[in-house]
Point group: C6
Chain length 228, copies 6
């Protein structure tokens, strides 16, 4: 099986080598849980390995994303050059519409050989739907379109709580190929970041809850360390 | 009493020999809880024992299901041949409609001697109903139709939480002949898969919560081992 | 006071001799909690004592009920003969309508001297009502009709959780003469069945939570044993 | 201050002598919590002390109430005679309407010198209102009417849970002069009845949670005994 | 800073001397939590110190309030005389309308030099609003009007639970200058009254949870004693 | 990176030097949690350091805010002079409208060189929106406008509970650059104020829960002290 290495320290080990090629993964977490950082590094590391990446932002502007990432990851110093070389593109579509997102993706794959993409966030798309089934079908069709393209994606989904006890499965959890949950756990006197691979179709994977940190040189996932 | 052996390691023991023939069982679980894997192996093991099986998928395509199962179960190596020989069929109906599903089932039983079937998932059907009673009656009539056919079925139902405390009984729990609950239990620093046979009309059965794993050569249910 | 012996091992002891004659009892429990089994044995034991019984099923067919009960209770071997002799009748009305149920009951009492009846389930009736008060009044009028007939009934009600903490009182709890709660308690690594007599107008009764089992020769209620 | 002795063993002690004259008390509890029994004994003991009483039942028939109470309290042997002598009346109005209830009360006070009355239950009245404020105002006006009559009342209110943690204050709690809460507490392996005087305008009162029992000779409130 | 002494034993100490002059305080509590008693003593003690007070009741009649307070506080023996001397007025407006309440307040300030007022309760006002924002704005404008008058007020707000865990902030909590929470805490076998000053703009204050009692001679707040 | 020093004792240390310049931070807390005090001191300390500040109040009047702050912080004695010198402006717009707020901000930046601003509160704005997505988009566009202005802002958001367990993420949590949570923690017999920096785009920050106090000379954040 072909795999897409995330290049994120520790995460590929948890994934038994990386995300299976062509899979579409949901990254589920609250505000400040590190969703954007993980997405960005996934593309950055891809670009370093020669795989072009596309970041589709549905709320913040491209400039905001880049500026934030530069200050979050001062040591991922090639980001500016990658953007210039179109190895890493950050694009904000005009409309909140999955068809537009698909067209954009298809276009960049054809014209720029994109191999990895990020969609940030599914929640922005969902807000515009009135019925659950309509959203579910649209998301499913969108994923079907994607399966005909040679691309691996991570889509962020906003969680409404940072407690594990409060997690309820939602449409994205059932429809997407994989789920990575990010937690901002409340350890009484402090917050601790942790992640787990909750589901990943087509590969075995770690089932541990693992602490991680966002450092200037990238995400560090501390495989083998305990949170509790 | 005649029984349909699931062929899944440990599960038949919990069922005192297998699912009573002609019964219709709900497989209830969250995303990544192993629903598709159990359903698939149920048909695979049937095909090996000479009983043709039909997988009716209401969301994913037949190709997606097969591809996922091949990578989940690399050692269930006869799957491809079984598909070719029509011992195992994976079909996606055009519409989300229980009548169509019934017609499809009836047709395959007549033309291909299907003995086992999987319907994945009842949740997709339910989403299209507006009132609870309408769905319940339609599901009940569907099961009545099935009882005239010589077939044993497993139908998946999506749970919205992986915590035992949050489980609430729903329409499928009351209408179906049996319920197998799949859990993705939160053991602080890791997730542990477990199942229980919650209800099975017409037979005595284990009432234990039992851990299980999805391995390359099939599901392993660890009867006699404790989760807590 | 006259009492109707349920004939179920241990239960009559908890009831100080049986259900007071002419009372209407709700049997409240989740799926797989043993509602149908207790109802059936109540009628079976009555028939053995010479009291004809009627099982009114509002969802499953008469054949389904009988078939299930034969496999659940292989040692209650007179069931088939009782059905033939009309000492035990299982009937499914055409419509979900309490008036029809009352007419049916009245007819069988007149023509067949029915002394005990089961209505399975009130939940099916309730689903067809739009307002709470309409259902409550209809159920109350139905019970008033019943009080003019010389019959003792058990009516099943579907619970939506098997946890004692989640139990909320509903219309049936207030309107019926008695309530027997069935639990499928979650004891971490296994499920344990237990029952309690929660309310029984017109008689003192046990207030203990008592484990029970469904065995081939009938229900066994283990009076004096503890669940916790 | 004048007080109405309930005559119930232990309860008057908790009330510092009885309910202040002319007050209107809510008796709040789930099914099987003893609401009807306490109401009935309140009137029975009044009749014994020479104060005529009226039981207004809004759901069950007068005959049902009397029959139940006779079997609940076989040793309160004067009940039948009291009914005959009109020292204790049980009446069911034709409609669920507070105005009718007020007219009935007024009539019986004038014609029969009623001093104590029971209204069973406020919940039946409430079910017929669409808006909260309309019910609250109607109930308040009803109580204002009552204040011009020389009568002390107990009104039952149905609770939807028997757990203390689940109690939420409702309209009756704020509007009525007093609240007595009845609990059917879940002590793991058994149910224990307990009551507390939660509010009583115009008098000091016990603030303890006290166990009670329904015995053939009346309610026994075990003042000074602990539940936990 | 000028302060209005409540005159309630212990409470002024918790308030560092009293409520800052011209502030508008919410008194939040369930039924039987002592809201009316605290409000009444606030006015009584004011009248004793020469500050006229006005009790605006929006549900109970003036007579009910006075009668209840006389039996609650038999040793606050000057109440009747104060009412006669118009040092303490209890008024029930014809309508549930904040404008009417404001007009009433203004009139009494002008004609009778009122310095303290009680509004019982905001919940009655709120029930007549359909939208949250409309109520919030009306309440805010009402408070703005009040700020132009030389008066300090306490407004009661009904809580729907007596458990600290269930408290949710509501419109009054944000809009009012101060919040005093009253609890009727469930200490297993008894209820214990306690209060806390949750918010008080313009002054430092105790942040302790303190038990209190309603005694014949007034409220006693036991500063320095622990509840837990 | 340029930072805006809050000047609040301990807070800048937690922020690794201050809020990154031009960022927009949400201050999330219940009533009485200290939101206004922190906002005010943020502007006061800025004015002392030569950076003009603007307090936009959407509910209370400017006079109320100032008066409250003078009594809360008697030792921040330059406040009056700052207001006079327009180093610190408190303004209440006529309407609850984000466009008006933006125009106001822009105007003050041009005419008075404002560097810091407070918007109190987002909740007031939100109440006037009917749909979630409309509010989210409007808030997002507002923040986009702000990013073109050279200003750092704190916006208050009202929490509905003071318990950490009850916190749910809302629109502001996802849209704003940073979140500071204020808690009024329930430590059984007393309330303890604490804060945490939950999210701050563009800088590393403390992840501890830290107690704080509002003292006459300003907020004191006790970095290094434990709450639990």
């Amino acid at each position: 099986m072909e795999r897409v290495k995330t290049g994120i320290s520790g995460l590929d080990e948890m994934l038994n080598g990386g995300i299976p090629c062509g899979r579409h993964v949901a990254l589920y977490g609250g505000p400040g849980s590190g969703k954007t950082s993980i997405c960005f590094e996934f593309l950055y590391q891809g670009a370093k390995m020669g795989e072009n990446g596309l970041y589709i932002t549905l709320e913040e502007t491209s400039d905001d994303i880049l500026e934030n990432m530069k200050s979050t990851f001062p040591l991922l110093s090639e980001a500016g050059q990658m953007i210039e070389d179109k190895k890493l593109e950050i694009v904000k579509p005009d409309k909140l519409d999955l068809e537009d997102v698909a067209t954009l993706l298809e276009d960049r794959i054809t014209s720029n050989g994109i191999k990895r993409a990020v969609i940030d966030s599914a929640t922005m798309i969902r807000l515009s739907f009135k019925s659950e089934i309509e959203y579910r079908q649209t998301l499913f069709e969108f994923l079907s379109l994607l399966r005909n393209l040679d691309v691996t994606t991570i889509t962020t989904v906003e969680a409404t709580s940072s407690r594990k006890e409060d997690m309820r499965y939602d449409i994205e959890h059932f429809v997407m190929d994989g789920i990575i949950n990010l937690y901002n756990l409340d350890r009484e006197d402090r917050r601790v970041r942790a992640l787990e691979i909750f589901k990943m179709r087509g590969t075995d994977h770690s089932r541990d809850l693992v602490p991680f940190k966002v450092t200037p040189s990238g995400i560090k996932v501390y495989v083998g360390e305990k949170v509790f």
